[in-house]
């Protein structure tokens, strides 16, 4: 955590946060499935001020070929931030942070996917952050799961995601950018709600063992809320608006 000095009041005496939310409230989340024509599956998410698009291709041939696995399909994941997505222009080349996030998101999605029916193939997940606020990896993960479901990839469960954190010595749900910069801890969590497994889990910042438990439980409550929105996005695409009725 930056732990930077800041004029922003992160939590006032009534328990209201800098963007007007209560401690247990997520930002507004909207997800739309099937937003791209060429991708096999896609989704667009707005998670607070995060705007992220997810595109899925595959199962398809693996290039380079030596990455192919004869026993199972594989998943690759690229997380990328557009140069205009943050206040200071971000260099377009993938940073070490983006490569690490791509890796942890890949490992967060993999437990949900059933790829052994597609040996020698790859499922490519591309995540483009058009605008970043705090918690972009969770938002990207939630969008990626919907895009994978939209692509018809066999899945054991949806992976939903939400962060929890600590500001002003209080555990809060869904950390925004100001809270990430000036707060005390940020814990992004990815969770399979039906299998009850945590598949993405990181922490920056100091928590006591009790706070750690509370923070994890809080994040999972957020994940379950995001899950409902993910389900709705899929239902809207396949059963909504008079289509297929």
């Amino acid at each position: 955590m930056g732990g930077k000095e800041s004029d922003v009041v992160l939590l006032d005496e009534k328990g209201i946060r800098c963007d007007g939310r209560t401690v247990n409230q997520t930002r507004k989340v909207t997800i739309k499935a099937g937003v791209l024509k060429n991708a096999d599956g896609s989704a667009y998410i707005e998670f607070g001020d995060n705007k992220i698009i997810a595109g899925v291709f595959g199962p398809r041939d693996v290039h380079p070929k030596h990455l192919a696995n004869t026993d199972t399909g594989i998943i690759r994941c690229r997380y990328h931030m557009s140069p205009f997505s943050v206040t200071e222009r971000k260099h377009p080349a993938p940073s070490r942070r983006e490569i690490e996030i791509g890796k942890v998101l890949k490992e967060a999605l993999k437990p949900a996917l059933i790829l052994d029916k597609f040996p020698r193939t790859v499922v490519d997940v591309f995540l483009e952050v058009l605008q970043a606020d705090g918690g972009s990896r969770c938002a990207a993960l939630a969008a990626a799961s919907v895009a994978l479901a939209d692509a018809g990839i066999p899945m054991r469960d949806m992976v939903s995601a939400c962060a929890a954190g600590k500001v002003a010595d209080t555990i809060i749900l869904d950390v925004n950018n100001e809270e990430d910069q000036a707060g005390q801890a940020d814990m992004p969590v990815g969770y399979m709600p039906n299998l009850e497994k945590v598949t993405l889990f990181q922490l920056d910042g100091v928590l006591t063992p009790d706070e750690y438990k509370k923070c994890l439980e809080t994040a999972i409550i957020g994940c379950k809320q995001v899950y409902e929105i993910q389900k709705k996005a899929i239902k809207d695409k396949f059963f909504g608006d008079g289509e297929n009725q």
């Binding site: 955590m1 930077k4 026993d71 200071e88 070490r96 942070r97 490569i99 690490e100 791509g102 890796k103 942890v104 490992e107 993999k110 437990p111 399979m192 299998l195 009850e196 497994k197 945590v198 598949t199 993405l200 889990f201 990181q202 922490l203 920056d204 910042g205 100091v206 928590l207 006591t208 063992p209 750690y212 438990k213 994890l216 439980e217 999972i220």
Partner: protein
């Protein structure tokens, strides 16, 4: 790291079979790290250094300290940067070239553990606010690879930083000038200790070796500080954890962290 999948499956079966009987392939208890040996001051040309063996995993780390420009939004703080490289001589499977995502993750997890614990009080490393600060550059070279590079690099980096001496600079005409013969101890506030655990089936084991690493379902690295609080963590691997398992892992990390911290402290005494 893996040879062929057939051998891995046989190894995995054996490792799982032993775990069911409460045993590990190398005879350790589930919560027992391999023998840790730490030697500091091994590279006199570095400002701080350490050579760490964690079982057969071996790391050499050097800390270089030099003046630098601060990050634009952090003019009142010194710089801390931690990198890692798996040298090609460490394992037959290592290829030269730009770092892959595993190595980037390794360096960032080690960096995060030290940074988020607040081990180094970076506000004490400012020469001139917004213009000139002291940088602590911690570079890990892995020279032998037998699994769990996270903890090996973390212990090595921590020991090297504890043992380093910070040269003195003075600002003259806007540039930092080295003051010969004067140096000070680093501004240390706490000692981070990382504990990496693997989940194989429903079993949680501390400090997986290369064989255990190759067949684990998921892993987690938890770093605690001297107060026994959790300051950084990273989950990895291709499966998930239940909440109960994560709580158990945090308890193990706190308990084992106390022992690790003692080993790191003792190794740097008198340096």
């Amino acid at each position: 790291m893996t040879s062929t999948s057939i051998i891995d499956q046989l190894k995995r079966n054996k490792i799982v079979e032993l775990l069911e009987q409460g045993k590990r392939i190398d005879g350790r208890a589930f919560d027992e790290p391999r023998t840790i040996s730490i030697e500091t001051g091994v590279i006199p040309k570095a400002n701080g250094s350490a050579r760490v063996r964690l079982g057969d995993t071996e790391v050499v780390v050097g800390v270089k300290i030099q003046p630098d420009k601060p990050f634009p939004d952090m003019g009142d703080k010194g710089i801390f940067i931690c990198t890692a490289e798996i040298l090609p001589l460490a394992h037959p499977s290592v290829e030269t070239g730009p770092p892959n995502e595993d190595v980037i993750e390794l360096a960032r997890v080690v960096d995060r553990g030290i940074r988020e614990s607040g081990m180094i009080d970076l506000s004490k490393l400012v020469l001139e606010k917004d213009k000139s600060v002291i940088g602590v550059f911690t570079d890990n070279s892995i020279i032998d690879h037998d699994g769990n590079l996270f903890d090996a690099c973390s212990y090595a980096s921590t020991a090297a930083i504890l043992s380093c001496k910070i040269p003195k600079w003075e600002i003259k005409d806007g540039v930092p000038v080295l003051v010969e013969g004067e140096e000070s101890d680093p501004p240390i506030t706490t000692i981070p200790a990382s504990v990496t655990m693997a989940r194989i089936g429903e079993h949680i084991i501390v400090d997986p070796n290369a064989d255990e690493w190759a067949c684990m379902d998921a892993r987690i690295t938890i770093t605690t500080n001297s107060d026994g609080n959790i300051c950084a963590l990273q989950k990895g691997g291709s499966q998930g954890f239940s909440v109960e398992q994560l709580v158990k892992c945090s308890e193990i990390a706190v308990t084992i962290g106390v022992k690790i911290r003692e080993i790191i402290k003792n190794s740097t005494k008198g340096s």
